[in-house]
């Protein structure tokens, strides 16, 4: 429980400050404004490859990891099936919408297929969550991992709906208002809008009564139950909300790659989402996006980088694994934790500081 435990230490003072100010923390933070402006004018800076392959992919993966961060950071439930929920919604978009596999796809317009996919994915995630909350802590990891793996093997074997290991190809992307939403720049803004929506929704929820009750459930379920809160209902509701976030990311992902196959929902990919969230830090909603940026940069450039150093470029997963190990070993809260610790050491070097909180 160390991650969740440390999360509590880090989050509580922040929450207090926010409640006192009754405002969004981003408003008074110049760095947040700078990042927002950069993200908005990104199409002017970056070309098509960087815009989609790096930034849009980062935002999509970050949104998936955000759903895990919400569950793990505020609910204390590490769920490895967030990618599975995203993949399920992606499959449903392909199955209900238009795709190259006409014998499977029902050919609905996107504005019918997407809500249907979201609803089904939320139902799937909520059911899985209802199953997972029957157990606690590390058992949750195992059960959600088992659900993810079962879904992966199922998509591999089922040809009637999921088209076996070839998956569903050339999924149609939306065109409306005279805009092709899969063209680079519109798609980037679409992804940015969804990611921002999810980010602010998570941040809002973390301070809303539901989010506070959820954090109470994370810290002391017995006490919350004694206070009259329905512990399991809060947890399942958290799974439902996280499923919604993950399902949105899944829809974007299938539009991004225009295809979906079992490889996208494999166990390794499920674990990648956990790595992204943990490397970024699971105490704040910004963490998953930082983690996703690091992950995508590594995945894209590690090969060239390793070859330039004279090493085997195929060892990119080794690099990721070692980096993940290092982060888990030395920081309980990912990159954010390292940064906070650095800031604190800077501050405590200044005279008359009362000494920072101890992170461990």
């Amino acid at each position: 429980m160390s991650l969740a435990h440390d999360a509590r230490v880090a989050v509580r003072p922040a929450t207090m400050a926010q409640r006192a100010a009754r405002t969004w923390p981003e408003v008074n933070n110049p760095a947040a404004w700078i990042v927002a402006v950069i993200l908005l004018i990104m199409p002017l800076i970056a070309s098509g490859f960087f815009l989609i392959e790096i930034f849009a992919t980062t935002l999509i993966l970050g949104t998936m990891a955000l759903s895990l961060m919400f569950l793990a950071g505020y609910g204390g439930m590490v769920s490895l099936m967030q990618l599975t929920i995203a993949g399920f919604s992606a499959y449903m978009v392909a199955v209900f919408g238009v795709s190259g596999n006409a014998n499977i796809s029902l050919g609905w317009p996107w504005w019918l297929a997407v809500p249907m996919a979201l609803a089904l994915a939320i139902a799937f995630g909520t059911l899985g969550g209802a199953l997972a909350v029957r157990t606690e802590g590390i058992y949750t990891i195992m059960i959600t991992l088992a659900i993810g793996a079962a879904f992966y093997y199922f998509t591999n074997q089922n040809w009637a709906i999921f088209n076996g290991h070839t998956g569903i190809n050339t999924v149609a992307t939306p065109h409306f208002w005279g805009v092709n939403w899969r063209a680079d720049i519109p798609f980037y803004y679409l992804v940015l809008a969804v990611a921002a929506l999810c980010y602010f929704a998570v941040e809002y929820l973390s301070r809303a009564p539901f989010g506070l009750a959820l954090q109470g459930v994370r810290d002391n379920p017995r006490r919350m139950a004694a206070l009259g809160f329905n512990v399991n209902a809060h947890r399942i509701a958290a799974y439902a909300f996280a499923s919604f976030v993950a399902a949105l990311a899944g829809v974007l992902q299938v539009w991004n790659y225009r295809q979906i196959s079992p490889g996208s929902v494999s166990v390794g990919a499920c674990i990648d989402v956990l790595i992204i969230a943990v490397v970024g830090g699971i105490t704040r909603p910004i963490g998953p996006f930082i983690g996703a940026l690091i992950f995508v940069l590594l995945r894209t450039f590690a090969l060239d980088f390793l070859v330039r150093l004279g090493l085997d470029g195929n060892r990119f997963r080794l690099l990721i694994g070692l980096g993940f190990l290092a982060i888990v070993f030395w920081s309980s809260d990912g990159v954010i934790g390292l940064w906070q610790r650095w800031r604190q050491s800077q501050r405590s070097n200044a005279p008359s500081s009362s000494g920072g909180r101890h992170h461990g």
Binding site: G137, I141, N158, I271, R315, G321, F324
Partner: protein, 336 residues
């Protein structure tokens, strides 16, 4: 057993009828109507035996996993990597020396050494931080998987079965009666039977060691309350290292077994990790008899499922897990 019958007479009756039906299916010569309905008896018996022997393999993997969890509350998600490592070591030994038995011994020792290193270097540092330990094991499994891919490549390996175990053996089970009235007996690979019998022997030996010896008593006490056990003067860290080494070594042995009657390739680590997860969730975390029961159920479900409902075999396994979680979240044979 008798207490179970007293408490739930209806369930006991259903269980007895089910067992009797299965025994009849195994031993009787099937009437033609039945063969028409669900296929030939030989197929059924083969699936049944495959399921039981696969269960033996799953038990070898999962018992180490559940033993480590039971004592140290440590979910070792790198257990699948230990399995694959043991398999590769066994392949290397049997390919270079030609000795099947020696490959077991070396695989056990080497994976046990890896287990000792893991416990001393990694887990001792973060005792009591379950979630962090789990994260570390995930990272380790990624690193191990890539290192093994680096060293062994993506090829399939199969460990050579020794000569004295090659070939089928005739079992005294009648599969059909020829038109001449002569009975046809079931033929089954000897190596699978030997492996199954040895996994039963290992299971029984583990049960005896846990319940009849002093070290077993210490381990059982540690499962119940390790703080009090440490306070009584037992060198608990030494016990941890020993148990971790033994559990890891079992995974190594299982790797050799799996490499003999299936094959070794990247990805098998995750498959067996998943199998042992499901087995211990069904059977009950930390319980050796639970691991045996869970392994038998999952092995049978997988094999019978792949024969009779081929598309949905994996879903059957998953449904069993869901059902157990819904009825008995702690697992079938867990004490809590």
């Amino acid at each position: 057993m008798s207490r179970f019958v007293e408490r739930h007479p209806a369930w006991a009756l259903i269980a007895i009828i089910a067992i009797a039906m299965v025994l009849w299916l195994i031993f009787a010569v099937w009437p033609p109507g039945l063969e028409e309905a669900i296929g030939r008896k030989r197929i059924f018996l083969n699936a049944l035996f495959n399921g039981i022997t696969l269960g033996g393999l799953y038990f070898l993997v999962a018992s180490g996993f559940t033993l480590i969890f039971g004592l140290m509350r440590n979910v070792n998600l790198a257990h699948g990597s230990l399995y694959l490592f043991g398999g590769y070591v066994g392949y290397a030994i049997s390919a270079s020396t030609g000795s099947w038995i020696l490959s077991f011994i070396v695989a056990f020792i080497l994976t046990a050494l890896v287990g000792v290193l893991l416990q001393v270097i990694v887990f001792r540092r973060m005792e009591g931080q379950d979630l962090r330990q789990t994260m570390v094991t995930i990272g380790l499994s990624i690193v191990f998987a890539d290192l093994m891919l680096w060293a062994c490549g993506g090829d399939f390996y199969q460990i050579q079965t020794p000569n004295w175990l090659i070939g089928p053996v005739e079992l005294p089970l009648v599969t059909a009666i020829k038109s001449s009235g002569e009975p046809v007996y079931l033929r089954y690979p000897l190596v699978r039977l030997v492996i199954f019998i040895s996994s039963v022997i290992i299971g029984v030996a583990m049960w005896l060691a846990l319940n009849r010896t002093r070290i077993g008593m210490i381990i059982r006490a540690g499962v119940d309350d390790r703080d009090i056990l440490a306070a009584t003067g037992v060198r608990i860290q030494l016990v941890f290292v020993l148990v971790f080494a033994f559990g890891a070594g079992l995974a190594g042995i299982a790797g050799v077994v799996g490499g003999t009657f299936q094959s070794l390739s990247p990805g098998e680590d995750i498959r067996f990790l998943l199998a042992s997860l499901v087995v211990v969730i069904v059977g009950g975390m930390g319980s050796i008899p639970g691991a045996a029961l869970g392994a038998l159920i999952i092995g049978l479900a997988e094999q019978l499922g792949s024969v009779y409902i081929p598309t949905y075999a994996i879903v059957v396994t998953f449904l069993i897990m869901v059902l157990v979680l819904a009825i008995r979240p702690q697992g079938l044979l867990a004490r809590r």
